[in-house]
Amino acid sequence: MTPARVLVRLRLNAFRNYMTAALDLGPRHLVLVGPNGAGKTNLLEAISLLSPGRGLRRAGFETLAAHGSDGAWAVAATLDTPDGPVDLGTGSGPGETGRRVRINGANARAVEALSAYLRILWITPAMDGLFTGPAAERRRFLDRLVTTLIPDHSASVGEFEKLMRQRNRLLEEDGDPLWLGAIEGQMAERASAIHFARADCLAHLQGLIAETLGAGAFPAAGLALTQLFEDMAVPEAPDALEALLRMRWQQDRALDRAAGRTLLGPHRIDFEVVHAQKNMPAALGSTGEQKALLIGLVLAHARLVRQMTGIAPFLLLDEIAAHLDPARRAALFDALEGLGTQAFMTGTDPVLFAALGARAQTIAVRDGRFLAEP
């Protein structure tokens, strides 16, 4: 399937180890090969910044500029879409901690505006321990999945966390109860939106996985959220959840003050994944099995996003061939075909991508420069 949206042009300026770099691409997948430290992941990171958030390394925007530059960096891309070409760009000026987003030469009001043109999902080696590591990492992964579907979700999460820091600070300082109430009210509004966005997204994703259970080379995942409340079910209406959370936070002030944090809320749930065919928690699988489960989950989510938004997300697959046997590698490459999207993959050895054949364009990367196809 030919992708409906193609990243045809990418320009980097003073980004990481690229002083200036330009890539012109066709509608094929892109494979970046090169030794460690060549700049393969940096290129994926640059693409990942064309979506809300801080990109696939979660780096501060002020840390992205090339060494020896004045602190400014920029990533610009041209996208071929069914509605014609679109120019997208993002970057920071010297000393800026935020970033600007440009769409067709004009400043975008919010970074979420990019989501009208493209969605991006990624798998990186840092996610290898996702199922065995801390719950915070899984929550972040879940929120990225949700944001790919519902772009406003990331802003809700950011606002909730900010409000919660404000509440914790006020509790510590024994602040004005009315002030606390005003903050808790705002927190409850965001928390309710966050909870229902996560639950809806997981319900849709689980439904789609159930349809294709056992059909692919990747194991199916069973998905669940841990309970928001220890002692009761979550109300079905967003308004009711909002009211309940507000009440609970007001009741829990003394408890939370003693704990030094907010003990109840959507920031405390865990995203539980099980290997559906084996009915086994994902964390108990082998490293290879966990990777296969993760890939299956991300591929299913990419299908879901395409179904629900009409935009097939770009996939950034960093060191994707590691831990996969040749059969699974071939299956992954075939699955990418069915998605109708462009995938950007990296690896140290071009042999790992031989099965892609003419479906991919291979570019060698050395010290922040692109060499001709090997």
């Binding site: 919010a110 979420e112 505006a113 406003d152 606002e159 900010k162 409000l163 820091r165 404000q166 509440r167 600070r169 006020l170 300082e173 602040g175 004005d176 009315l178 002030w179 109430g181 005003a182 903050i183 009210g185 705002q186």
Partner: protein, 201 residues
């Protein structure tokens, strides 16, 4: 690297601290002033001197003017509407005045509640607002639609509870001349929730 004497350098550094200006534009502005010393620099200097001597922060509403209470607070025509508009900053007050919102009075909070920046109710003019509230029939909370702005609005609403004054906030929704297709989902659903009845002919 000096661009002239210390007087010029100091002027550049001061101008560079103004919002919207950086070192580069400050340098350009100073150069421009020097080239037009009689036509621009002298009158500007005199205008600054006069403003320094005359500017007052209104003791009632927090507006800036050359008298205190300010012209808005002493204008008797603004008495009748009974409307008090609460804003974060003087810039917002000016924006509303430019929009010609009518014969209303204002209250400038001087910021918003922000625990992480150490700004609490006592750092804003909330006590003064509570003191004025009884003299009005309606208080409009025209704070920004930011997290801190909305927290401040809720806080003020709670503090004014029981005062008998009607409290409203600005509507969030479709901008004038806006196309629905281009609105973000959040704004659009807000606009639907805050829908208003059409007046029949």
């Amino acid at each position: 690297m000096a661009n002239g004497g210390p007087e010029i350098e100091q002027l550049i550094q001061l101008l560079a601290r103004l919002p919207g200006l950086g070192p580069r534009s400050a340098r350009r502005a100073v150069l421009h002033l020097i080239k037009r010393k009689d036509a621009l620099m002298v009158p500007l200097s005199a205008a600054l001197d006069r403003a320094v001597a005359a500017v007052r922060v209104c003791e009632t509403c927090g507006n800036v003017d050359t008298v205190s209470p300010c012209h808005i607070c002493t204008d008797p025509r603004r008495e009748q509407s009974g409307l008090l508009i609460v804003v974060e900053d003087v810039a917002d007050l000016w924006a509303l005045e430019r929009a010609g919102v009518g014969a209303v009075r204002y209250h400038v909070l001087g910021g918003v509640l922000s625990p992480l920046d150490g700004i609490g109710p006592e750092d804003l003019t909330i006590e003064q607002l509570l003191g004025r509230a009884a003299g009005f029939s309606e208080i409009v909370l025209a704070v920004n639609a930011t997290v801190e702005g909305q927290t401040t609005a809720h806080y003020i609403t709670d503090r004014l509870a029981g005062s008998g004054v009607r409290i409203t906030r600005l509507a969030h929704g479709v901008p004038v001349g806006g196309e629905l297709d281009y609105l973000d989902e959040g704004t659009l659903s807000q606009a639907l929730r805050a829908r208003t009845a059409m007046d029949p002919g």
